[in-house]
């Protein structure tokens, strides 16, 4: 068993995702405490060049194979099982993303290695990890340890600063051969949302709308407000699911992560999956008719009111 902290790298279109940097930064500080190394595991096809940007890691294990052209849970799982089994790291950090959830749980079962999910904090205590997990839609926090001192943790996006893990460096790069998967899960293609007219991750003011909007026709009120503010309209998942706004406007775990100057959350209850996407905003103002909506716990300002009353008033007030 080593004192290493391993991080599964996620990348797309030739770029490393922010969540990986968040994990790397954390892994580096944890590894320092456990007197081990932060090891990044990078799977892909033709990705050796990416290893250089994983500077926070002491070592990068690269498994380069055409089979990893795109992410596939079974391919990743098959490749990672021997790596983790052989190296026996103290902790494996995986992002709690669509891809990560699949792989982490599969690894846990294959290796009989415990898994702590929805982690928001990880510390090292006497060489073994202590993980804080959020459960019950964020209402309960559980602090756990692994019975045998080693385990896997899936980490909620945005839990750690990405800056700590970014930055160039020269980690030791180790190439490892891929273990082929049985091919029972085959990647077909990637569907990207149609390029929207607006990139909400670049907007400084977002007027975001949730189920509280009621009817699709009410969206024009929101558009008017966004225009008056010089911002753009974004939404929570249900609005995108209903097709009222394109997916490119969706904020949250399955959508985009945004950090605008101002985030107006209108009729959004604040489920953890949504908060993941916007809690980094500088100023969050929430309007919701339910006084107990979780959004109020991350907002800076809040009002318990019907957004259909407040929005036109606000637009008028702004001269829109």
């Amino acid at each position: 068993m080593s004192a290493d902290v391993m991080v599964l790298v996620e990348h797309r279109d030739g770029a490393i995702l922010d969540t990986t940097f968040e994990l790397l930064g954390k892994a580096k500080s944890l590894a320092a405490e456990s007197k081990g190394e932060a090891v990044a595991v990078l799977l892909g096809s033709g990705v050796a060049g990416l290893a250089g940007s994983l500077g926070a890691a002491a070592r990068v294990i690269v498994i380069d194979d055409p089979a990893f052209e795109a992410f596939s849970p079974s391919a990743y799982q098959a490749a990672l099982v021997p790596v983790v089994r052989d190296r026996e790291p103290t902790l494996v950090l995986v992002a709690n993303s669509g891809a990560g959830m699949d792989v982490a749980a599969g690894l846990s079962a294959a290796l009989e290695l415990p898994l702590a999910a929805y982690a928001t904090e990880v510390t090292m205590d006497g060489g073994s990890p202590r993980v804080t997990c959020q459960l019950y839609a964020g209402k309960i926090q559980a602090t756990v340890r692994f019975e045998r001192g080693r385990g896997i943790a899936t980490v909620v996006a945005g839990s750690f600063p990405a800056e700590a893990g970014a930055g160039a460096g020269s980690p030791m790069v180790e190439a490892v051969a891929a273990t082929a998967s049985d091919g029972r899960v085959r990647f077909k293609r990637l569907h990207r949302p149609e390029a929207g007219d607006v990139d909400i991750t670049r907007e400084s003011v977002l007027v975001s709308v949730g189920r509280g909007i009621g009817d699709q026709d009410n969206l024009e009120l929101i558009e008017a407000l966004a225009k008056a503010l010089g911002g753009a309209v974004s939404s929570s998942r249900p609005i995108a699911d209903a097709g009222w706004l394109p997916r490119t406007r969706q904020v949250g775990k399955s959508g985009l992560k945004v950090k605008p100057k101002v985030y107006l959350a209108l009729g959004i209850s604040g489920a953890p999956e949504h908060l993941e996407g916007m809690r980094g905003a500088e100023l969050i103002i929430a309007v919701n008719s339910d006084a107990r909506a979780p959004i109020f716990s991350v907002a800076h300002y809040g009002a318990v009111a019907d957004l259909l009353d407040v929005v036109p008033a606000l637009t008028a007030r702004l001269g829109g």
């Binding site: 009621g214 009817d215 026709d217 006084a291 019907d306 259909l308 009353d309």
Partner: protein, 749 residues
Amino acid sequence: MLDRDVTREIFEGISTEGEILFYALTGVATLVFFVGIGIRLRKYARGRPQGVIGSPLGFARRAARSSVDTAFNRTVAKRDLYAGVFHSMIMWGFIVLFIGTAILTLEADIVRPLAPQFSFYWGAFYLVYSLVLDVLGMAMLVGIAAMAVRRARRPRQLDYSRVDIAPATTDRGGFRTGDWIFLGWLAVLGVTGLVLEGARILAHDFPWFEVFSPVGWVLAGVFEAVGMNTAVAEAVRSSTWWGHAFIALAFVAYFPFSKAIHALADPVNLALRSPLAGQRLPVLATTGAMPADGHIGIRDLADMPWKALLDLDSCTKCGRCHVACPAVASGAPLSPRDLILDLRQEADAAWSILAPLAERRSDHPYGGAATRGDGGLPADPGGGAGPNGGSRVAGGLISADTLWSCTTCLACVEACPVGIEHVPTIVGMRRSLVDQGIVAPSLQTAFTSLAKQGNSFGQSGRARARWTDNLPTPIVDARKEDVDWLWFVGDFASFDVRVQEATRLVARIFQAAGMDFGILYEGERSAGNDVRRAGEEGLFEVLVEHNVGQLEKARFRRIVTTDPHTLNTLKFEYPDFGGEYEVWHYSQVLAALLASGDLEARAPIGRRVTYHDPCYLARYSKVTAAPREVLAAIGAELVEMPRNGANTFCCGAGGGRIWMDDSGLTERPSEQRIREAMTLPGVTDFVTACPKDLTMYTAAVKATGHEDRLLVSDLIELVATAVGLPLESAVLREAQPEMELAAADGQPG
């Protein structure tokens, strides 16, 4: 003088062959009439059994009441004196003329052949008979003319345009044609009768006694004045006689296949109308075996109870339900009139009943094959109607959107002059929608919350009594101690933040008045009135079982509640499940307390207020006096809403609608009601006596931008001010100094 010459010859100038022809035609017409009636009765026989008679004595009373109502056209005259007067004239005119013909038949076909010594059609009898028939015949024509004028001016009530489907998909020209044919036919009958009489009088050269047929006498004079001689008059008379005979007999044959059927169906329907129409809905045997065809509620035409089928035939398309309905007013796709007419035409088409001049729909031809539950294309296009005939109605012919639009406010049932019970039919179909799983997500959420936690707010049932925290004096727990009054608080009064302010005041007022009362705390669950009306009968039964169990364990004499919905179900429906209670509305209790002096209005409210009668209080429980007594006792100056009492206009929350999305409406009923209140000069307060009303109107007054001019408050808040208790609501507290100032002046106003 008044001898056997004072008479007219029956069948005058008609040969024996003519008489035989006449009787043959009469026979045919009568046969067709009875066949038509028989077909209708068979139609009702297809319906599910339904007990409407009840106790013989009770039924006899209702039948007597219906006879009186019919005789005086009370239901027709309600809020429409014009219709009441002129319809009475048509009705009585027709009845009397019909009886007149029957009398002639008696004389000509029975008495004269068999017992000529009893012949009576002469002398004084003849004079009285002639006078009465002339006057009533003229009255009938005047009535017809008045109704024709009204109809020609196209009042909104008689505008047949539909609210639920695109105008291009339907053609209701047949309705209008049928209406004018009916009116016209009666008019022609009346006119030919009088012309015939005038011609006869002229032909006989004005026998003196015929002055007792004044209209005929005058007409005869007119004919003479235009140059008609006796020979021509006789020709006119005999040809008109045949014309009148044909038209009359044809009318008899046409009767059961036309609008005319209402004359027979309506008095019967009124007699059979349940005295608790809408207030008590039928129990469904959901425990034990499922019904044989597995249908819960009214899914297909054949599931309709027979009384509902009679309802369909009773409709005269008067449109009163249509103009009273809040769904119609707010742009929802529901018209109670069109729901009834759709079902009627579907039944006629599916069961091959001749009903000419019907509506023609291109989107859903009546009597078509069974459609899918969502009203889409038929699952099996070649398939015909089911074994009982008739396609799916719940979610098929009547779309789910239409059915879910109803607030169950009972305005339609109350307005209907012919005793149609729209609401139970709608709820019956909603039961089927729920059974088919056609339930909007927001309604599902409410049902799930009610099932799990006993309230529709998604909050823990254990939090139900949190509104009592911080009350100066704790409320007695009725589960542990005996009390005189069991206060059944209800969902909205317990959980809605604004309504909680009023609920706490009720508690403190009751305590100040020295009432011995308690509540069930977390033992209480939603009484289930609106759950039942939203069609979730199974969930209703779960709630009832629970509440009855809790109430059985508690010891109390009577129940009081602030919620008229709760009041309705506890009083009228819980007895079907073993819970018999004496239930009061808090306005009735307050009225009694103020009258007895247990509560003293030391600081009368000198404000001009208007009071909104809650639907469930005014129409269901028929309590309209008590809140007004309370307002009077506390010195408020009441200005009545234009639509008040049993004619009140719904806030739009009932029937589960408060749990449904209302974004599709053009204007919410509650906002229309606020605008109605704003027409009252000088009124500053809008007073409610129902928790849902308080919620809806508080939102509506903000949405319409009138919150600075109209204060929406609960009755208890005015009482509290008058009695000297400080209010919680910040809005009202701001207004309180004004109120106290007015009170300090001494006199109201």
